[in-house]
């Protein structure tokens, strides 16, 4: 029972969500929120591989998401859309092809991570941070100059793939894929971290020179680690593009990277369960603060004094979230979980599940 309890729990939750979405018990808004949580979990856990487990400081994770989003959208439009001429594949094959489209997007994003990982052989810390920011800007700026995919006006047409899925069976397909890919991501990262490579990653975090002396091939480990992280972020980008049905280079700018970083440091560096918990908390908080009524209620003493001031929720949200993180950094800088996992914080949980 202990072996399969977690799998069973996840499966039950996933099936419940899908059934509830299919029969309309939860409305589209809640579905979008659940999907955003899934994407944010992928983003935070994958960034956690680099920033948490390897101890590097990169702040351009959204760039890889952008690559994944664009590549998978273009392939998706080529295969099932009508924007670039007739669809190349029959609409019936969409269910088998779609995961591969996402994975190809992830693979290209993984290759693009070489832009960061190769300079990281020689540099660390601040210089690497700059390189990652520069790569993020480069990717955005390169896509803005490609006019055949819309340039800065953005790119759309991915919804055709979704409609093809709807034609086969009328259900919450995107929710299905997001749940699957989220579980896939967490599984891959867990397996990766507990493998020999993962031990190497942790060794680099502790002391790079010592790791090298202990026969860890640091360059290889760095490349692989960056590739896994960027590849998963690319998958997240593909999912995001297919949910929204529209991608724009500017939606993957430094602010999006900052979001991913906030989630990692809120959860605790190097803690997988911390990254998941903080992704859920962060997304929920973002959605709660989106409500104008709540913001108005919170700011009512101020607006009482300054009646002319009309704060907008979208702006106040971005004052409150950084403020929250500043406060977290002051009083609990290690984040929610530190670098421990859930089963380390609550040892009794070990009796009920095993997660490998």
């Amino acid at each position: 029972m202990k072996h399969h309890s977690l799998n069973a729990l996840l499966a039950i939750v996933a099936v419940l969500l899908l059934v509830a979405a299919h029969f309309g018990w939860i409305d589209n808004y809640i579905q979008i929120v659940v999907m955003t949580i899934g994407i944010n979990i992928i983003m935070s856990t994958s960034l956690n591989l680099v920033n948490g487990n390897m101890g590097e400081f990169t702040c351009g994770h959204a760039g890889f998401m952008c690559v994944g989003a664009y590549v998978s959208s273009i392939i998706s439009v080529l295969c099932f859309g009508s924007k670039f001429g007739d669809p190349m594949l029959p609409a019936g094959s969409v269910l088998f092809v779609f995961p591969f489209i996402l994975l190809i997007g992830g693979a290209v994003a993984a290759v693009s991570s070489l832009l960061v990982s190769v300079p990281s052989f020689k540099t660390r810390d601040d210089y690497l941070a700059i390189i990652s920011i520069a790569v993020n800007y480069m990717i955005i700026s390169a896509l803005e100059n490609m006019n055949f995919i819309g340039g800065s006006r953005g790119f759309q047409g991915m919804k055709d793939t979704y409609w093809a899925m709807i034609d086969i069976f009328d259900g919450p397909w995107m929710l299905f894929w997001v749940i699957n890919f989220t579980i896939f991501t967490v599984w891959v990262i867990r397996r990766f971290i507990s493998s020999t490579y993962g031990k190497g990653v942790n060794a680099i975090c502790q002391d790079e020179v010592a790791a090298e002396i202990m026969s860890v091939n640091t360059n290889k480990i760095k490349i692989i680690n960056f590739m896994v992280a960027a590849g998963l972020a690319g998958c997240a980008g593909g999912l995001y593009a297919h949910i929204i049905g529209y991608v724009n280079p500017q939606s993957f700018n430094i602010l999006k990277s900052t979001e991913a970083m906030v989630m990692v440091y809120l959860g605790g560096m190097g803690s997988l369960s911390g990254a998941i918990i903080s992704a859920i908390l962060f997304t929920t908080l973002m959605e709660i603060l989106r409500s104008q009524a709540i913001i108005d209620g919170m700011l009512s003493p101020v607006t009482f004094i300054f009646p002319d001031w009309e704060p907008s929720a979208g702006v106040i949200k971005w004052v409150m979230i950084p403020l929250l993180l500043v406060i977290v950094m002051q009083f609990r800088p290690e984040g929610i979980m530190g670098n421990r996992e859930l089963s380390d914080v609550f040892p009794k949980l070990k009796k009920f599940y095993r997660f490998k």
Partner: protein, 303 residues
């Protein structure tokens, strides 16, 4: 020929803005080993402060003539912006430093402080752009077919003067010696009777003050203000500082002018949308070849 000279002038002007902001980054980094990511937004705050100060001085309450208003605005803007920088240091960075937190946490705090400045500005003042009043009457001199405005000359001269001043402060004065000492060994310095907190405050005053000056000059040259104006220029100035070798005053100055020259050169040859792409690619190549920047000295790690 005229064309080239004209573009060299433009490059010098842009380079001056980058250099002025990059000097602030590099000062703080040189002393604290901290990337003050909020610095670009302090530049933005400086531009806004100068807007309100100039508006007040030109307005009916004070009613000064533009030239007098300009002469009063410069020190006032620098002082008020320095106050903002020091407040940030007192509220956000110092408690963390006292606790001996990992420097990564301080960097994240700085990043978040930048976001807070941007969005609280947006929340308080709204998204409408502000038009900066004309303080100095624009004069255009034509020397052999090259158009030279007094603003351009002022910006370039200011950048050079600020650089020389900071170089003098860091290398020739007691305060500068204390700054270099702190960056050399943070733990031994308080034992030598050097007031570390005061020196750090002075660093922030200098860096933020000159960011405010850059904001004022920028607002005078490009008289439209918006809350996100500091974001991209701040990142680019930081990149300029890193290219020059962060922590080195000369490096920030050279890096700023280099970045300005690259950008203007790209814009003259290619469509202007390629500017960022080329600037960042060249940055990546420079850092790849020379990981510590042009003037930076690699720190040796002890095993």
């Amino acid at each position: 020929m005229d064309f080239i000279f004209q573009n060299v002038l433009n490059a010098l002007q842009w380079g001056s803005f980058y250099a002025l902001i990059a000097l602030g980054y590099t000062l703080v980094y040189g002393v604290l080993r901290l990337i003050n990511f909020a610095h670009g937004d302090i530049f933005m705050v400086g531009a806004y402060i100068s807007f309100f100060v100039a508006g007040f001085l030109l307005g009916p309450l004070a009613g000064l003539s533009p030239l007098v208003a300009f002469l009063v605005t410069v020190p006032l803007t620098m002082m008020l912006t320095a106050c903002v920088g020091v407040t940030l240091e007192r509220i956000a960075y110092r408690p963390l430093r006292r606790k001996g937190a990992h420097r990564l946490y301080v960097v994240i705090t700085a990043l978040m402080c930048g976001l807070i400045l941007e969005y609280s500005n947006l929340a308080v003042l709204g998204a409408s752009r502000l038009k900066f009043p004309e303080l100095v009457e624009k004069q255009i001199w034509n020397i052999g077919g090259i158009a030279l405005t007094n603003l351009k000359v002022m910006v370039i001269v200011t950048a050079v003067l600020v650089f020389l001043f900071l170089q003098w402060v860091v290398t020739r004065t007691r305060v500068g010696m204390a700054m270099r000492a702190i960056s050399y060994d943070k733990f031994a310095i308080p034992l030598m009777g050097i007031p570390m907190d005061n020196i750090i405050v002075i660093t922030f005053v200098l860096g933020s003050g000159f960011a405010g000056l850059a904001g004022l000059l920028f607002a005078m040259s490009y008289p439209v203000l918006e809350p996100f104006m500091g974001m991209l220029i701040g990142w680019k100035a930081f990149i300029a500082a890193v290219v020059g070798g962060i922590g080195d005053i000369k490096g920030a100055f050279v890096g700023g002018f280099l970045l300005g020259a690259i950008e203007v050169a790209v814009v003259t040859v290619f469509p202007s949308t390629y500017r960022d792409l080329f600037a960042f690619t060249i940055l990546l190549l420079i850092l790849w070849m020379k990981p510590t920047g042009l003037f930076g000295i690699p720190q040796s790690t002890k095993i």
